[in-house]
């Protein structure tokens, strides 16, 4: 009873039934929903795997019977391994940014937020490079089922990373403007959850799309 009275006196207005912030519950519900979104995209990629009528193909070379033109296997594992590593490191930077914000450490919160954003942008750079070189090698989104499913799946993932980078940059901007402190920890935490989820999706994509043939 005492606790209840205390809770009420303390803050009736921002009372929550679970004691947890709204945004964090919402972001987890959102992540649950996103599982279905990416599961559908990945399922489609896998269902259509090996069903393309014409090349180029992800893992095997292809000769166009009409023109005799040679096409290399499209996927570039070394480059993608590097970009995968970059995204993993961005998750590390993100958790460090969060702890800096919790500590109220304004210097390191800026450094780690900036690093996370920069690593995210680097990942996007890799993806831009990957996409353009694929187009040069003859794979467009319209070329075949592989092109349609591949670009759509990785493109949507890239769009999520882009949104995350924008979010990070906005947060960094706020940090420079007024400094992020412990009271902002929850907002950074929610952003971090989103960011890690996008990373986790990439972990699945890297294996299912790039490594398994």
């Amino acid at each position: 009873m005492a606790t209840a009275a205390l809770a009420e006196a303390h803050d009736e207005h921002h009372y929550t039934s679970t004691g947890l912030p709204h945004t964090k519950i919402a972001i987890w519900a959102f992540i649950g929903s996103e599982c279905f979104f990416f599961a559908s995209l990945i399922a489609t990629y896998l269902i259509y795997k090996g069903r393309s009528v014409v090349g180029p193909f992800p893992h095997t070379p292809w000769v166009d019977p009409a023109t005799g033109q040679h096409f290399k296997p499209i996927l570039n594992i070394p480059v993608t391994s590097a970009s995968t590593f970059v995204l993993l490191m961005s998750s590390l930077a993100m958790v460090l940014a969060h702890s800096a914000v919790v500590r109220g450490d304004r210097k390191w919160s800026k450094i780690w937020l900036a690093s996370t954003a920069l690593l995210g942008a680097t990942f996007l750079g890799f993806q831009a490079y990957e996409f353009t070189s694929f187009v040069h090698e003859g794979l467009k989104i319209t070329t075949n089922l592989f092109g349609s499913t591949f670009f759509t799946l990785t493109g949507f993932h890239g769009a999520h990373v882009t949104a995350g980078v924008l979010w990070l940059v906005t947060m960094l901007f706020i940090d420079f403007k007024r400094g992020l402190g412990p009271r902002d920890a929850i907002n950074v935490d929610v952003m971090a959850l989103y960011w890690h989820f996008v990373d986790v999706v990439w972990i699945a994509i890297f294996t299912l799309v790039y490594l398994i043939q």
């Binding site: 947890l20 919402a26 929903s33 393309s52 499913t149």
Partner: protein, 646 residues
């Protein structure tokens, strides 16, 4: 975030958002948004009804000539799309909005501005979809728009473009609302409002929101593929490129079957509020009711391919999906028996909401049974794509969802407006609906079993379908009359219905403890809840003896309304009878409410501009302009605090 309660503030000059049209455009009040949903959805219900009636006129006799084949395709596609996405779902959303915060003892939803955004996006999407009529290019591929018929090759016009984009917009609205209500129900329950004390409507809402956020991604992805195919030339549904037409069907029905429960569960919830009140008995088997809701939702993800028995998935898949479909009838049947158990031995009052609730129990049962009939693949092969299926899902959606929603409208109208609806007109409405509904849809069972296919524009005479179709159309005419009576009742009662008071029905849940219509802040003091039926604890404790309570000896709800505690009033609290706005304002009570804002509407307008650009010759600058408006509005919205600084 500041954590102190604001001191009472002097009422300053009225902000322009506090009255007139602006007060609606900038509202973040869940009750106002609920009403916007209600009236918009009812308007679309009338539009969808007119479409249905034209279909019935066309089919009245053999070789009807009222509309062309093209128009007919547009009519049945838009009838289905309208009723599902623009009438039943938003009617449910009207109740989610209006009721959930009231039922859990909260002052608003978790994200009031996101809530406004959901409504505006819904409005934009529904208008967008219907604008297509002006171009004689309404969607014409059926509400499930099978691939590859929905691709550019087979549907070259704007028709399916409108459908693809419109559906995407409507999906966004439902998803945004879904996250909002999940958070609201988890996190904004008043003290003592445990999960197992929540009113069943709130439970139904909770489960429905999970169905929405977990099944809409499938349709989002399926429709995105279609959009890419139609606009950018990808190959997702391009058979020549090796695509499998079943991909669309699987993704669509992975959404489509949970969608059935999205349409029916809120109606189940409403009926579960109405039946105990008018039976003067607690809901029979409350925990079972809750678990069956959860079980239905869970199993609902494992039955989708029963819509696809005819495509030849093979004996294993057919058997599995047949069995899961039969299984899902169990928790559904349990609910029916629980409602019967609630009425059994109760002192029944046959008010209009009660009649509609009983209508749901009886008519949904018929639809449920015909549903179990086509859970068996061999009999499904006889019934699929015939009028039998049309009969089945209209018993579920009209006999079930709409009956439940009408029950909810009659039951909660007094809470929404402060006035009762006319019982005389209400009973006319009910009986005409009940008779018209059965006349319209029951003969379709026979027409279907006699081989009448769905979605045909004309049929030849003397195939044994003539009489069935005559009766169906006569039934539809009766439904038109019934609906007109409902509209008249609604308009008249809103203006001059009898004053309702706080609790006109003697209902058990806490939303009836506050004035009708409720003040902006709902509860002056957040209530503390001690059982499932706080109002009966107070007014008729003998009714709730069997319901678990907190054993503190405090069998009452402590609800303060405008300084006076309503918790101890013995008779139905009619303090507000002749003083609609007698209760003090949020300012006077020092309650901080969200600031009204136009930004969610601006964000929606940005989206509209983008989608307009997409359909208007894929005009890239317009698409980008819309995107910029959207992002700018979003930033402006997210970077302003929800409430006035304090």
């Amino acid at each position: 975030m500041a954590t102190t309660v604001a001191a009472p503030r002097a009422a300053g000059p009225k902000h322009k958002y506090e009255s007139g049209i602006w007060s609606w455009l900038a509202t973040t009040d869940h009750k106002r948004i609920g009403q916007l949903y209600l009236y918009t959805a009812l308007a679309w219900f009338l539009v969808g009804g007119i479409e249905a009636f034209i279909i019935r006129l066309q089919l009245y006799g053999p070789n009807g000539r009222i509309v062309s084949a093209e128009t007919y395709n547009q009519l049945f596609t838009m009838h289905g799309t309208t009723m599902i996405f623009m009438a039943i779902m938003p009617l449910s959303a009207a109740f989610f909005n209006f009721l959930v915060p009231l039922q859990i003892g909260a002052r608003d939803v978790a994200f009031p501005r996101l809530n406004a955004f959901s409504y505006w996006v819904f409005l934009a999407g529904s208008i967008f979809m219907n604008v297509s009529w002006l171009f004689h290019a309404a969607p014409d591929g059926g509400w499930f728009a099978y691939a590859p018929l929905n691709t550019r090759v087979y549907s070259p016009g704007l028709n399916m473009d409108f459908w693809v984009i419109g559906l995407q917009i409507l999906g966004l609205s439902s998803l945004a609302a879904g996250f909002n209500f999940i958070t609201t129900i988890i996190n904004m329950r008043a003290p003592g409002m445990h999960f197992m004390r929540m009113p069943v409507f709130t439970w139904a809402t909770f489960v429905t929101q999970f169905l929405i956020v977990l099944s809409f991604p499938f349709i989002t992805v399926a429709v995105t593929f279609l959009l890419f195919d139609r606009f950018f030339g990808t190959n997702f549904y391009e058979i020549a490129a090796g695509a499998d037409p079943l991909l669309w069907q699987h993704l669509f029905w992975l959404f489509g079957h949970p969608e059935v429960y999205i349409l029916i569960l809120p109606a189940f919830g409403l009926v579960s509020e109405v039946l105990p009140t008018f039976s003067r008995k607690p809901l029979f088997g409350y925990p079972v009711m809750v678990y069956s809701l959860i079980l239905i939702a869970f199993l609902g993800f494992g039955v989708w391919a029963h819509h696809m028995f005819a495509v030849g998935m093979g004996p294993i898949a057919d058997s599995i999906f047949g069995i899961t479909t039969m299984l899902i009838a169990i928790p559904t049947g349990v609910k029916i028996f629980n409602w019967l158990g609630t009425m059994w031995g109760g002192s029944l009052r046959f008010t209009t909401p009660m009649l509609f609730a009983i209508g749901l129990v009886s008519l949904f049962t018929i639809g449920g049974i015909s549903g179990v009939m086509h859970s068996s693949p061999p009999s499904d092969l006889q019934q699929t794509d015939s009028y039998f299926v049309v009969a089945h899902f209209h018993y579920v959606l009209f006999g079930g969802s709409m009956m439940g929603l009408f029950a909810g409208i009659y039951y909660y109208f007094p809470k929404i407006t402060g006035r009762l609806m006319s019982e005389t007109l209400g009973k006319w409405h009910f009986w005409l609906t009940f008779i018209g509904m059965n006349l319209t849809f029951f003969p379709m069972h026979f027409a279907g079993l006699d081989g009448m296919p769905r979605r045909i524009w004309q049929y030849d005479a003397n195939q044994g379908w003539d009489v069935d179709n005559h009766i169906s159309t006569i039934g539809a005419a009766i439904l038109v009359v019934a609906t007109l009576i409902f509209v008249i009742n609604l308009v008249r009662s809103r203006r001059s219905g009898a004053r309702a008071g706080n609790d006109p029905w003697g209902a058990p849940t806490i939303e009836w403890s506050i004035p009708s219509p409720p003040p902006a802040y709902n509860y002056a003091t957040i209530p503390t809840v001690r059982s499932r039926y706080p109002m009966w604890d107070m007014k008729a404790p003998e009714l709730t003896a069997s319901v678990p309570h907190s054993p503190a000896g405090e069998k009452e709800v402590t609800v303060k309304v405008g300084g006076a505690t309503a918790g101890h009033i013995e008779t139905p609290a009619d303090t507000q009878l002749n003083a609609e706005n007698a209760h003090p304002s949020a300012h006077e009570l020092g309650i901080v409410m969200p600031t009204p804002t136009i930004k969610p509407l601006l964000a929606t307008l940005g989206l509209c501009v983008s989608f307009f650009g997409l359909i208007w010759h894929r005009h890239v600058p317009i698409i980008i302009l819309g995107g910029v408006i959207f992002v700018a509005a979003l930033y402006a919205w997210l970077l302003t605090p929800l409430e006035p600084e304090h």
